[in-house]
């Protein structure tokens, strides 16, 4: 594969997952950006210093003006210094915010890429057991929660704490008692703020959940619009929706009420402190303990000491949420990936396709064998048909060939070599799969045909494959031909058409081994003949495993395996099996019976 230059240093996942503390894990997620984050913190401090310095300088400026009367160049210089401090503060804030966001955006982008790759490389069984929506949620919104943590919460808590400390020191330098007096309400505000934001976040969740209920309601109403109309139930629907709508209204009011209470309440508390401290400071000036300049410095600093604390609660609650999100992500990250390249055996002139199952058993879970002591072998280029009911083990058997799963006991030999000695990467390049109703990707039809064909393919070659798969005409029937986007409005492909696309694709891939799900999609006679021809040309000269649904595709098979409850109950060629009592003969007889039944039916109508 082409290794393009990565825009970032790779993650050190073992360290991220190995850390005992989640905050430490988050720190490792920032790998390569620690320096940026450090710079961000330095500028954070610088901004806080500059801001504090600005107020302190303002005080001195006023004192000097009052005492000596600043004139001429000295005044100009002072004014410029003041401006420079503001500019320094602004610049530092920018630098800090820039670096923090740089870290956050880069770390999360890398995490997103990592997760995408990790998820697609998780084992087959992992995907069978997990829900798409849940995985998606973890890889998107939980990652975004982390991004906000890096960009806002981590740096936000630092900012508030740093400003608090530096302002406090500056005030303490003016007057220690005043400084101590000014932070009396801090614990109260902090406590209220944490309690409030905790409750708020709950109230908000309830509000959001009700929103989801309302959305589901709406969606069901819209998708069931025919039923609603058929029973003329519009009024009933309206009543139902109104009830949920009113509930959302109620929850919204509750949510709003909390806001209306918290902000003015915390305002009053903080204002009380502001007035008290200012008054205290003013009397100190009157008593000659402090200068007027000190008062003005203090007046400015006080605001930065008190008011930001109100937001600390939110940041703390959000941080705890980020940790929860990380927990959810790390569950996915901990799941092991498939090892694509572990084994290395790779014959120089490719494989031939001779396959031997030697006492193969397989179980998804312990104690429940899906395949039980299966043994058979076939030569290169032969056709093996698998017959049996749902859950009899056919699908499990073919899943073993590309090593989607590995055998529980026994062994599978490919050209005499144990399958486990081939790498998954190599094996899958040798095996083509045509499903009954293949999944198509939302790209053009051309891209779907060349999907997984790991080489450049010319338009002629694509069309030739499509023609062979009896799908060329269908594609030309679309407005944009091969450029038609799958899933575009008005473009729907039937199951059979999708299957033929997959046949075309497999023809281009040209694998040695073929796994085929031979279904009876409802198509007209002519198309059925075409598909049959397409399949025949596909199977030609390739070892083929057919999951069979009808006798026609079986009759010519070199080997027919009849499955029941994970075991092979009958095995052999058509002629042989036909002469045995058993399931196979029963099935075959049915076909004959159908023909005679039909004739009877027709005769009956004719005779009346």
């Amino acid at each position: 594969m082409s290794k393009q230059k990565e825009p970032y240093i790779p993650l050190d996942m073992p360290r991220v997952l190995g850390s005992k503390n989640k905050l430490l894990s988050l720190w490792h997620l920032m790998r390569g950006y620690h320096f940026h984050y450090f710079v961000s913190t330095v500028f954070l401090a610088l901004a806080a210093f500059a801001r504090t310095g600005m107020y302190v300088f303002l005080g001195t400026f006023i004192d000097r003006m009052m005492n000596e009367g600043l004139m001429g160049p000295e005044l100009t210089l002072s004014a410029l210094t003041f401006g420079a401090l503001i500019a320094l503060q602004a610049l530092s804030s920018f630098m800090s915010s820039w670096m923090a966001n740089f870290t956050a955006e880069n770390s999360t982008r890398r995490l997103r890429d990592y997760l995408f790759d990790h998820i697609q490389r998780l084992s087959y069984s992992y995907h069978s057991e997990s829900k798409t929506g849940d995985l998606l949620e973890r890889a998107t919104s939980d990652v975004d929660t982390l991004r906000r943590f890096f960009a806002e919460q981590a740096i936000g808590v630092g900012r508030i704490v740093m400003i608090f400390i530096i302002s406090f020191i500056a005030i303490a330098r003016i007057n220690l008692r005043l400084a101590l007096f000014s932070i009396i309400i801090i614990p109260i505000v902090l406590a209220i703020s944490i309690v409030f934001f905790k409750r708020l976040s709950k109230a908000y969740e309830a509000y959001q959940e009700q929103g989801a209920i309302l959305t589901t309601d709406l969606q069901e109403n819209l998708s069931g619009v025919r039923v609603v109309k058929a029973f003329a139930r519009q009024d009933y629907e309206i009543e139902k929706f109104d009830k949920e709508n009113a509930e959302k209204f109620r929850l919204g009011r509750k949510f709003n009420w909390m806001h209306a209470l918290f902000w003015p309440l915390s305002d009053i508390i903080c204002s009380a402190q502001t007035i008290g401290s200012n008054f205290y400071a003013a009397t100190m000036v009157l008593n000659g303990v402090m200068t007027l300049g000190d008062f003005i410095s203090f007046h400015g600093l006080l605001g930065w000491l008190i008011w930001p604390i109100r937001n600390l609660g939110r940041l703390i609650i959000d941080t705890s949420r980020a940790l929860v999100s990380f927990g959810r992500i790390s569950v996915v990250l901990q799941a092991p990936e498939e090892d694509m390249t572990a084994a290395t055996y790779q014959p120089e002139d490719g494989i031939k396709g001779q396959i031997c199952f030697d006492q193969v058993s397989f179980a998804y879970e312990k104690d429940y064998l899906v395949l039980d002591d299966v043994s058979f072998s076939c030569e290169a280029g032969q056709v093996v048909a698998l017959l049996g009911s749902t859950g009899s083990g056919k699908t499990s058997l073919v899943n073993l060939l590309p090593r989607f799963y590995d055998v529980t006991s026994g062994q599978i030999l490919l050209d005499g070599v144990n399958l486990n000695e081939y790498s998954r990467e190599f094996l899958r390049s040798q095996i083509g799969i045509v499903e009954q109703e293949p999944f198509l990707f939302s790209c053009s039809i051309r891209d779907n045909i060349t999907y997984g064909v790991h080489r450049e393919v010319s338009q002629e070659e694509i069309e030739e494959a499509a023609r062979e798969a009896a799908i060329h005409e269908v594609i030309l029937g679309f407005k944009n031909g091969y450029d038609t986007l799958v899933g575009e409005r008005g473009v729907t492909l039937s199951g059979g058409q999708k299957q033929r696309l997959a046949i075309a694709r497999t023809l281009l891939i040209n694998p040695r081994i073929l796994i085929l799900d031979d279904s009876t999609s409802s198509v007209d006679m002519e198309t059925e003949v075409q598909i049959r021809a397409a399949l025949d040309s596909l199977m030609n000269n390739r070892t083929t495993f057919i999951i069979a649904h009808r006798i026609q595709s079986i009759m010519n098979a070199d080997l027919i395996l009849v499955f029941d409850k994970g075991k092979i109950v009958q095995m052999g060629e058509h002629e042989v099996l036909l002469n045995q009592d058993g399931i196979y003969k029963d099935i075959y007889d049915i076909q004959a019976r159908i023909d005679s039944a039909l004739q009877e039916e027709i005769d009956r109508v004719e005779s009346i």
């Binding site: 709406l218 109309k229 003329a232 009933y236 709508n245 009157l286 008062f295």
Partner: protein, 609 residues
Amino acid sequence: MSNQYNEEELDDVVDLKSGVVGRLMRALKPYWPQMLLAIIGIASVSYLDAYYTVLNKRIIDEGIVARNLPVMIGLFRNYAIVVLAQTVGFFLMIFIIGRLGEQLRYDFRKKLFHHLQNLSLSYFSKTPLGWIMSRVTSDTEKMADLLTWGVLDTVWAVTNISFAVFFMLQLNAALAVIVIISLPIMIFVSFKFRVKIYHHYRQSRKANSKMTASLNENITGVRIVKALRREAKNLDDFKVLSTNMYQESYRAVLLSAIYLPTIQTISAISLVLILWRGGLQVASGAITIGVLQAFISYIMMILWPIQDLARVYAEMQNAIASSERVFSLLDMQPEIRNREDLLPVDSLAGDVEFEDVSFHYEDDEPVIKNLSFHIPQGQTVALVGTTGGGKTTIVNLLCRFYEPSSGVIRIAGHDYTQYPLEDIQSRIGVVLQVPHLFSGSIRDNLRYGRLDASDEEIEQAAKMAGAHDFIMNFEKGYDQDVGEGGNQLSVGQKQLVSIARALLAEPDIFVMDEATSSVDTLTEALIQKGMHQLMSGRTSFIIAHRLSTIKSADLIMVIEDGQIIERGNHKSLMRNKGHYYNLYTKQFRHDLETKYDLFADQEPDASAA
């Protein structure tokens, strides 16, 4: 893409039609007292914000500098009163406006939902569900936000700036001029920034949804990805999307990071000028220290309303675009409406007649061409033919989900457009191929057929439909939850429930689209029995797939290309050896193959191979 239903509307450029804004504003009409109160409240809060600085100035000049304790105490007392007054105002304002916001959201959603219930089926078949959903869920939010916080923030910002300017002019006109000159610059820069930030933010949202879609697809199709070893290529593709997301998001946050420091720096320039000029004036005694301090405060404070103003401005365009879409939905007229002179009916029992009926969707090719037939009351009609031939359209016309483009449909002797729509639709019982159930219990779903049905009646209908036994097998019986869209039930079970639901409604005409997916033999027999119950004594139209249904029909119509190409009963059509004969023999073969298949092989997870 020129798709008018683009999921994420990103066309930031909307010509601000005054019509839309005016119409949006009219939504506030019933709430004008609250709105007025809130505006007065916010204006007072804003006035007091600016007044603090004046109080501070007096505390410095008249209290501290003048060394007058009693005056100072008095001023601090005033300060406390102002804080209290402002807090009350603040509380009321959040309370009123927040509540009003919820109220408007509620109103908009309600209005849209009501309107949607009246729109015709044709609207829903040509409008993507997601598009409609976004109008009801997210657009209404944006509209309400603009009308409440948007208006309020604007009022606050404008009054705040005005009061500050007013007080500054009173304190010292010469210094005030410096601030007044810097104001438009800061506002201009702010607007520019905000619009840009918002643009990138929206772009990043768009990039994000693309990224999510790609991830979603990769998880859904992971088996193919693995089989075809596309992992590396897919990761490369994904990286393009995630890089795009990164760039847009990074631009948005970078601009945000530059924005505030930039206007701070601009304000620093005017601050330097104020200090310099003010300092000179203090030295010459023209102004007091308090005035100088007041100016410094004003300059620093005025940054907030400017930011707010810019934010509202940036978001406003989008909210107006939202309103435009919502209004366009509300302006949509239902295509099928009641006529002027209605002929109310209790019963639709009677003959059904199609006379020269043609139908086409908008400007498309006709789907039904000059169709005529007459069905006597109580007969059963089977419609057969290939998919896309027009069978479903005929049924949709009969149910008056659509009306004929030309020709007349008569039920019980009258052109059916003379009847009230509700009467027709409630007198025709419909069972769909893929039955739609609503989340809730089985009982709720059955009761959908007749809202005032008693529990006994519900059970009786279920028994008649053959649904009773499987329902009783559930742990909670009739109170069993069916899941979203009824997905906890099998297709066969859903069909039984929907037959029972139709039975409960006691329709005069029965319409059914038979399921094509095979169900187990027992369920099949139950469905047959249920259908039989429904068909007895009622004029029935069946889009038939089952041979037994077709054979027992009084009339079979083979529909192809919007026309009846063969009609008659089973025997006559079989003798014909035409289209029907071919369809029948093929279906016969298929049915028996399925029936005799020892494995009953449906392989539900074969696609997972």
